[in-house]
């Protein structure tokens, strides 16, 4: 039995160590990790995946802790993938979100895994989605993704989550912030955390107005999730009302509002299933996965071809001397690959 096959077997048998190791292999892109993920695939699709995003200090980790506690009390198992930033200089990282998981210490049925952004947000979304698959195949009922909290444009999470929850801290900004594109558009549910702080009411008010204006609503017929629209052969129901993102107030540190939030997630889940939106999102996700893998493979071919030409450094002097330009070089390097593909 190959190492991957053994690991996969152990993971499916419920061994925590195997799940941990599989995620490591996914993160490292170790040889054989693709075989592993493709082996996981047929065992996925059961977990409900919830994405939690929002600015640094919004209280994501604390909320995730309380959510995990709540689900555990209901007898459900939970996986958490928490992403923290890494240093652009050394690649090092301090992954500190585990500290907030105080309600769930010693409970192995909450599998908490920290991931570093490793300076590569594009690649990270693939690794995160694959880690979620590992937890799903392991048998987790709920998988929560907690994002790095980088800011307004952190929208990759929609690629992996069924329900996207955006935390908005009180006093997050004026109406113009609400008009901007980005993170507010991807929300299925808004949470105004730290609802006991000054400015919370106003933030709720502004979000409510925004949702009523149709900004940021994820409607069934508007496929604005950052992906290309996939050709649909589904019969899309037309009698379902579009989803208007509810606004839930929480004080995560005291666990206040968590029950409301869990109910809202369940409602959204129901909506996803009833409207056909869940199938639509999953199809989009698979389409995006196929594209990403093909892009990565193509990039690998290009990198190898470039290496054959002596690496990018070999061209620099010519360009700097004015003998050629990057466009001509790209044409020259890609030429043989293009010819091969066209011949097929």
């Amino acid at each position: 039995m190959s190492e991957s096959a053994g690991l996969l077997e152990d993971l499916l048998a419920g061994k925590h160590r195997a799940l941990a190791r599989v995620i490591t292999k996914i993160e490292n892109h170790d040889p054989g990790y693709r075989e592993l993920v493709s082996g996981l695939y047929e065992h996925t699709g059961h977990a409900e995946v919830i994405g939690i995003t929002g600015s640094p200090g919004a209280g994501k980790s604390t909320l995730v802790d309380k959510l995990a506690e709540h689900y555990r009390e209901q007898g459900e198992t939970v996986g958490v993938v928490a992403i923290d930033p890494s240093s652009p200089y050394t690649g090092g990282a301090v992954l500190g979100d585990r500290i907030r998981m105080a309600s769930n210490v010693g409970d192995m049925d909450v599998f908490f895994r920290s991931m570093s952004a490793r300076g590569n947000l594009g690649g990270l979304s693939t690794a995160t989605a694959d880690a979620v698959k590992a937890m799903d195949a392991f048998g987790k009922d709920k998988v929560i993704i907690e994002t790095v909290g980088a800011g307004q444009n952190e929208i990759d999470i929609v690629g992996a989550a069924d329900t996207v929850c955006v935390l908005v801290p009180p006093g997050a900004g004026d109406n113009v912030q609400m008009l901007k594109a980005g993170i507010l558009e991807i929300a299925d549910v808004f949470v105004v955390n730290k609802a006991d702080m000054d400015g919370a009411d106003r933030t709720v008010q502004e979000l409510t107005e925004m949702v009523h204006l149709g900004q940021g609503s994820t409607t069934v017929d508007a496929g604005h999730h950052g992906f290309d629209e996939v050709e649909m052969d589904l019969d899309m129901p037309t009698d379902t009302d579009p989803w208007k993102p509810p606004i839930v107030e929480t004080i995560a540190i005291d666990g206040e509002g968590v029950v409301d939030l869990v109910e809202t997630f369940a409602e959204h889940r129901q909506f996803l299933e009833d409207s056909g939106e869940l199938t639509r999102r999953r199809r989009q996700r698979v389409a995006e996965e196929i594209r990403t893998l093909l892009r990565d493979d193509a990039a690998g071919l290009v990198a190898a071809e470039l290496e054959d030409h002596g690496g990018v450094g070999a061209f620099l002097d010519d360009v700097m001397a004015g003998d050629t330009d990057p466009y001509t070089i790209a044409d020259d390097v890609m030429g043989p690959i293009r010819d091969c593909v066209e011949e097929q």
Partner: protein
Amino acid sequence: MSTDQSQRSIRCLVAKVGLDGHDRGAHVIARAFRDAGFEVIYSGLHKAPDEIVQAAVQEDVNVLGISILSGAHNTLVPKIVAGLKEYDAFDDTLILVGGVIPDDDKAELKELGVSEVFGPGTPMEETVEYVRENAPER
């Protein structure tokens, strides 16, 4: 970059176990490890041995650095070692102890499976270098 290209990183858990409330040293070592390019998971204060085991297993760390200043290392470290064994995580985890450890106890900890004990005043580079050379492959 191709997806087949490996992107390994040394993962360390910096753990405070037991009752002592002094974590300046743990913070300093976490920062030094970060600056060395490692991925550091910091446990927070006052953790029980099984919490440390849970974190080490789930995070699949190559290195477990335990910081103890309370003098309770003879009680706490064996519990952590036993927990790691239970989850088949002992053999490929480098276990380090930092803190105030009497010489007699050092030998005992090493016999137990601790690779190295770093006392007060150990230069940071020494610890980082030791981890680089001895961290097990993942």
